[in-house]
């Protein structure tokens, strides 16, 4: 029951990727003279912001043992909704951003209901279908053309800096802090872990499982909409075809941070570090002049390595436990 004990168990979940960031930074500092500068680091944070937001929602879904393949199209659709409303004369920045959030929440809600109400076999299937629908809707409402011309008030979140620090990453930090507190210190947050760990036990313990699942999909939609708002600020346009790789990037960040596809395992801090690691790798390789092909290969290897390390660690823990038990039995 000691606190030390607790720390010992929680530390390792993101220590690996954090160490990777540190080591990578040291190497990049040596080989590139532009890497270790305030400007470059602010760039990294800016580049990590969208993926961080999407990953935050994805983590909650992974915790329940699900997955959301429709995140990219939701990002695109929510930002395009802002664009279309703007074209129709809505100028109020808050109204525009609220509309994006509503679109995200509705899309997430639909994903949840497809899974919990229609009882499609796995969210992999339902969100794969929804992914096509949302993408199609984004193309439909924009006539397949990107929309530019947002007012500075709208692009503020995605493009502005306070001092040197990007506003979009302040948003990330705030939301991650709130979600972290939510997951660990509220009843619903803790129920998400329980549902992911054992759905049937959760149901028979009186936990509202469909409600919990609906909630995480809605949250994912919401986070995608926030990512959409950031994206509009960063690139200046709402693009219906944006976000083709967001699903995989987000899953990668969560998994690197220690989340499990089987549900019940994963932390918000690990996810943030996972997203940052991906951004550092991309940034470093860019500075070194590597093309996207190399970036794909490196990030792929990092994902596999991260999961592999996790598996090895898990097996080691099981072995240690077995030996400990044998020792206990021998003593008794």
């Amino acid at each position: 029951m000691s606190n030390e004990n607790k720390k010992k168990r929680k530390m390792p979940s993101f220590m690996g990727p954090l160490m990777a960031i540190v080591i990578l930074s040291i190497i990049l500092t040596i080989v590139s003279d532009t890497f270790l500068s305030v400007n470059n680091w602010m760039n990294i944070l800016r580049q990590a912001a969208i993926n961080s937001m999407v990953s935050c929602g994805m983590l909650m879904i992974l915790l329940t043992g699900g997955v959301d393949l429709s995140v990219g199209p939701i990002v695109a659709l929510s930002s395009c909704a802002m664009g279309v409303l703007m074209q129709h004369g809505v100028t109020n920045a808050f109204l525009l951003m609220a509309s994006a959030l509503i679109v995200g929440v509705v899309c997430g809600g639909i994903n949840g209901l497809l899974f919990t109400r229609l009882q499609l076999p796995h969210p992999f299937v339902s969100t794969m279908g929804a992914r096509q629908v949302y993408r199609g809707l984004a193309l439909l409402i924009t006539g397949a053309a990107p929309i530019a011309g947002f007012s500075p008030a709208v692009t503020f979140v995605g493009s502005a800096n306070i001092g040197n620090f990007p506003v979009c990453f302040i948003v990330v930090i705030l939301i991650f802090a709130v979600v972290g507190v939510f997951l660990n210190q509220t009843a619903l947050g803790r129920k998400i872990y329980s549902v992911g760990g054992n759905k049937e036990a959760a149901r028979l313990s009186g936990i509202n499982v469909p409600g919990t699942l609906n909630f995480v999909y809605i949250m994912s939609g919401f986070m995608c909409a926030v990512a959409g708002i950031i994206m509009v600020g960063r690139v200046g346009t709402a693009t219906p075809l944006a976000g083709e790789t967001y699903d995989m990037d987000a899953i990668a960040a969560c998994v690197i941070g220690g989340a499990s596809f089987n549900g019940g395992k994963g932390t918000i801090s690990g996810t943030l570090i996972g997203a940052l690691l991906i951004a550092v790798i991309r940034n470093g390789l860019n500075l070194l002049g590597a093309q996207t092909d190399i970036q794909y290969i490196v990030i792929g290897i990092v994902i596999i390595l991260a999961v592999f390390v996790d598996v090895v660690r898990g097996n080691a823990a099981v072995t240690a436990r077995r030996k400990e038990r044998a020792k206990e039995q021998a003593a008794a």
Binding site: M1, Q185, N198, L204, S205
Partner: protein, 506 residues
């Protein structure tokens, strides 16, 4: 099939077979002779060792002691393949049918016949499958999808597989448990056809009438021991039951006497088609009400109905005299019902999470201050439970999956006691846990009833039922067969067993 075996020749013989698992002897001193052209019944209570015996015959388990003879020759089964080669086949209760494939593929799976070209010879296989099924009195096309067949016909396909392999011994493990009357009659017809061909059939059943109807000999088992083999003509129901339960009650049970109070739970005509029918009973404060019966009698299903984790089709539940209607476990919990499920790992605990957290599964919403949970309260609750239920663990942070079965059960108990329920359903609460932990579980029940709570206990261990319960409801095939309380003369193992096997209580 041309080869005719003399009826009565011993095909397989087991002598003094002993099988041990860590901590238990599953089978000891087991003897069995399976003769050509006869049907051999195998009966015993739950846990009597029938399944272990089947697995020895099919080579899944290797016995620690004893010999197996086939055609008078001593053999050793190193694995299922050896047993199969000697012509022993088993049709398990859970059928091994791929529903998405047609009959012919299911029949020939693993022994596909190829043409010279290397492609599968479906023409031959179809013909052969249909021939075999027709020989068993079944007129089904080999192209039919197995998923569209009824349970009876699916079973026929399984038996057909055995016939295709020219099995000389076919074990039917509770073959009628999922069949209707008509299908069962069909099955018996097929069994008689096979018997006429000299096949030796082992017939495991929980239905005594069937044993008398179809079997030539019957072997009774109890607690892993061989009790007797008798020609079924010379056997009587009463003798079978006496042989199955004939074990003394020991003093493992720390039962305390309480005076039951008013009725708290009243169930009327609860029905869920295919699971349980027209169940009515009352349970009072301060009493332990037992549910006895064989595995598959519908007791667990009934408890899921009361807890609304599987909603009943019809019927009424009253709690404290008021009719209640809830359709989810949440609703049941609001009415202060707790359900300690049979399967701790799958249904009771989140194994990957800590003891502390598992203890909050039901009552987390009452440990909040505003929107935040109170860690201090959670920790206090965990410490309280660990002490009170003597959960053996170095810390409340340990994952539930790392605990022993008994300690896991105590966490489940703790989880529910924290919910402050009034009605506790214990489903097989001591299955798979050691004697010490069992007594601790019984003590918890004692404490609950002495506080005036109501306990329902489903148990397949009769000594436990008689050791702990004030009253017993006996179920069979989804129906209530009777009810006896401690004071009545029928409150004994033999009479209750008789009812569980389909007899009358008086």
């Amino acid at each position: 099939m041309e080869e005719v075996r003399a009826v009565g020749d011993v095909i397989v013989e087991l002598r003094n077979i002993r099988k041990e698992f860590p901590g238990v002897t599953a089978l000891d001193n087991m003897n069995l002779k399976l003769k050509a052209g006869t049907v051999h019944g195998l009966i015993g209570e739950n846990g009597a060792g029938k399944s272990t015996l089947i697995k020895i015959l099919t080579g899944v388990y290797t016995p620690e002691q004893g010999e197996i003879y086939v055609d008078g020759e001593k053999v050793e089964f190193k694995g299922p393949a050896d047993s199969k080669e000697k012509g022993i086949a088993c049709v398990y209760q859970e059928l091994n049918i791929v529903k998405e494939l047609p009959i012919v593929d299911n029949m020939f799976m693993g022994s596909y016949v190829k043409k010279k070209s290397g492609l599968l010879d479906y023409a031959y296989m179809n013909k052969k499958s249909e021939e075999i099924l027709q020989g068993m009195g079944q007129d089904i096309s080999a192209g039919e999808m197995c998923g569209t067949l009824g349970m009876g016909q699916q079973q026929m396909v399984e038996i057909g597989k055995a016939v295709l392999l020219d099995a000389r011994v076919i074990i039917l493990d509770e073959p009628t448990s999922s069949l209707g009357e008509k299908e069962a009659a069909e099955l018996f017809r097929t069994v008689n056809i096979l018997k006429g061909r000299g096949v030796s059939i082992v017939f495991v059943s929980h239905k005594l009438e069937e044993i008398f109807e179809i079997c030539d000999d019957v072997t009774v088992m109890r607690d892993g021991q061989f009790i007797s083999t008798t020609p079924s003509k010379e056997m009587t129901k009463d003798r079978m039951i006496a042989q199955m339960v004939g074990r003394p009650l020991n003093n493992l049970f720390p039962k305390i006497d309480t005076t039951p109070g008013e009725t708290v739970l009243e169930v009327s005509h609860l029905t869920r088609e295919g699971e349980y029918y027209d169940i009515s009973f009352q349970a009072r404060k301060g009493e332990i009400l037992g549910f006895a019966g064989l595995v598959g009698a519908g007791r667990t299903e009934l408890m899921h109905g009361i807890f609304a984790s599987v909603v009943p089709d019809s019927g009424e539940i009253k709690i404290n005299g008021k009719t209640v209607s809830y359709k989810t476990p949440q609703g049941a919990i609001k009415h202060k019902i707790a359900f300690l499920t049979e399967d701790r790992k799958q249904q009771g605990l989140v194994l990957s999470e800590s003891i502390e957290k598992n203890l909050t599964l039901v009552n987390i919403d009452s440990l909040k201050k505003g929107i935040f949970v109170e860690f201090k309260k959670i920790q206090e609750q965990a410490q309280r439970c660990i002490e009170k239920f003597q959960i053996r663990t170095p810390s409340a942070d340990k994952a539930a999956g790392e605990l022993s079965g008994g300690n896991q059960q105590k966490v489940v108990i703790g989880k529910w006691v924290n919910s402050d329920a009034e009605i506790y359903i214990f489903d097989e609460p001591t299955r798979g846990i050691d004697v010490g932990a069992k007594i601790e579980v019984y003590n918890v029940m004692n404490e609950l009833v002495s506080q005036g709570k109501c306990v329902l206990m489903v148990s397949s261990e009769l000594p436990e039922i008689f050791g702990m319960c004030d009253r017993v409801i006996i179920m069979r095939e989804g129906r209530k067969m009777g009810e006896v309380s401690k004071e009545e003369e029928h409150f004994n193992q033999e009479d209750v067993m008789k009812a569980a096997w389909g007899g009358k209580l008086s």
